[in-house]
């Protein structure tokens, strides 16, 4: 049975990508929310009464990275639709024809 190692190899890659993006992006979002809470101060962070302006910077930094990742996700869906794929061969992601 040659399929099981093949399936495990595919599964392993999906799991790795899933952990980096699927758990990584929510982690960033959690930091973004933490930043919002810090900037909000009282009523948002348990035991904190003062507002912390650094929170805003944290929030925007995290959201920026998330937006970049999400736009990659959307471009990938669009690429699937038009029969292309997204590569990083030239650093900047670009649409290319699918490998036959």
């Amino acid at each position: 049975m040659d399929m099981i190692p093949l399936a495990l190899e595919g599964a392993w890659k999906v799991l790795a990508a899933g952990l980096v993006l699927g758990a990584g992006l929510p982690l960033l979002y959690a930091f973004a929310v933490k930043g919002m809470a810090m900037a909000h101060g009282a009523g948002a962070v348990i035991g904190q009464q003062t507002k912390s302006p650094a929170g805003k910077v944290l929030t925007w930094l995290c959201l920026l990275v998330i937006l970049l990742a999400v736009s990659y996700g959307i471009s990938f869906i669009v690429a699937t639709g038009i029969g292309k794929t997204v590569t990083f061969d030239h650093v900047i992601p670009w649409f290319v024809d699918k490998k036959k």
């Binding site: 399929m3 890659k13 929510p26 809470a37 639709g81």
Partner: protein, 423 residues
């Protein structure tokens, strides 16, 4: 109008009908978590999902014509029907596809009645395998491919369905744990509200990906029938615009209808989720679905979405997963492919055995009769947008209990069935 043309018409009708059931069967995959946490109202959620499915389906400019190739030998590598099926304007091939689609629809409706999120792709592929067994024997089925890549029933259906829910579960559990570690010091209400925004974004991605993936399958199947019948020249295969538009509309309308029974099970039956968990579940689903289609690893959106929701229960300390409900779901997953295959095969036999136009007509009558019956059964304990977020009744499990009881023993009334709309 020849017999073949009329059969072709019936294939198109049942293909769109399947696409429609595919829509409402899978609304919950993207939206169950958002509905559960209140990030979106039930109506708002299905509307958003329907629009994104429509957009996703319309993005399908380049449609894969080789949908069925992974499990059956009906087409060559370019998507053209194989020679042995093209006699009599491809009647045999059309009847195989027809039987398969009807089998898939019946199974989709049955699992919807039971409120079980089973995989629509498995229902479609299972039905096609069944039709093929009926029309070309077991040799017509590609069980394992040639061993160089993941292919065939084992490589494209069985192995991924064992692995993908586990992957989604792990990713969602890790995401949930990380979120709660980072936001431990944040007030509940503040956190709940902020996480809803992110959750809607992640759910939207799942919907969009679903539209591009699933509507394409119907487009491919309809085009296959058109080529077999001779409506489209075999030398210049293309997907007609009307096929794309009608498939996109069918899946969007189905999604808008919103399989509430399945959404209820997914949003309330498995885990009670808060919005950070919802974000974790939806992000996990979105990335696992996109990563696997990028890596060519076939999987079912349904299995991933359900695995993710269970994962958020595993990942949060103190949360409980209702493993009994999960167990029933896994049982439904396991039998979806063979059950749809049996139905597809029986429907092919009826259509082909009686033959002519009467055969397919009898199958249509059976399909309409069974659909009507199941719809009527669903009214007994109706679940819609107004009561979809009602609490899960572990003791009564209304939809499953009533429907299952009814099938086993239709002449007895159930004692004290608690309606899901108890409050």
């Amino acid at each position: 109008m020849t017999t073949a043309t009329i059969i072709l018409g019936l294939v198109v009708v049942v293909a769109l009908a399947f696409d429609f059931t595919n829509g409402f069967h899978d609304t919950g995959n993207a939206m169950a978590a958002s509905i559960a946490t209140g990030a979106l109202s039930p109506k708002g959620a299905v509307t958003l999902a329907a629009i994104l499915n429509l957009v996703g389906a319309l993005l399908s400019v380049e449609v894969a014509l080789t949908v069925s190739n992974s499990v059956v030998k009906l087409q060559d590598s370019k998507g053209l029907p194989l020679k042995e099926f093209t006699a009599n304007n491809g009647t045999l091939l059309m009847l195989i596809v027809f039987g398969g689609l009807v089998g898939g629809i019946i199974w989709n409706l049955f699992t919807w009645l039971l409120g079980l999120p089973s995989s629509s792709s498995h229902a479609l592929l299972g039905g096609l395998v069944g039709g093929t067994i009926g029309g070309a024997g077991f040799a017509g089925v590609k069980w394992a491919g040639d061993g160089t890549k993941l292919d065939g029933v084992i490589g494209k259906v069985i192995l991924p369905s064992l692995l993908s829910p586990v992957i989604a579960l792990i990713v969602a559990a890790v995401a949930t744990r990380l979120i709660f570690m980072v936001t431990a010091m944040i007030e509940d209400r503040f956190r709940e509200k902020r996480f809803r925004w992110g959750q809607v974004g992640a759910a939207s991605l799942v919907s969009l990906a679903h539209g591009t993936n699933d509507a394409q399958k119907t487009m491919g199947v309809i085009t296959l029938a058109l080529v077999a019948e001779g409506q489209i020249s075999a030398t210049q295969v293309y997907v007609p615009l009307w096929v794309k538009l009608s498939a996109a509309l069918a899946i969007a309308l189905g999604t808008y209808l919103g399989g509430w029974r399945i959404i209820h099970t997914m949003s309330k039956g498995l885990v009670d989720i808060s919005s950070p968990q919802g974000l974790a579940a939806d992000s996990s689903s979105a990335t696992v679905i996109l990563a696997s289609s990028q890596l060519g690893f076939a999987l079912s959106t349904t299995h991933v979405a359900t695995g993710s929701i269970m994962g958020t229960g595993v990942g949060k300390k103190g949360a409980t997963v209702r493993w009994a409900v999960a167990g029933r779901m896994v049982a439904a997953w396991a039998i979806t492919f063979p059950a749809a295959a049996v139905m597809g095969c029986v429907m092919f036999w009826i259509a082909n055995g009686i033959g002519g136009l009467i055969g397919p007509a009898v199958v249509m009558v059976i399909l309409i009769g069974l659909s009507g019956y199941m719809w009527k059964r669903s009214r007994v304990n109706k679940i819609d947008h107004s009561n979809v977020t009602d609490e899960w009744h572990d003791g009564s499990k209304p939809e499953v209990a009533v429907a299952a009881h009814d099938i086993i023993d239709p002449h007895h009334e159930l004692d004290e069935v608690q309606a899901p709309s108890a409050h």
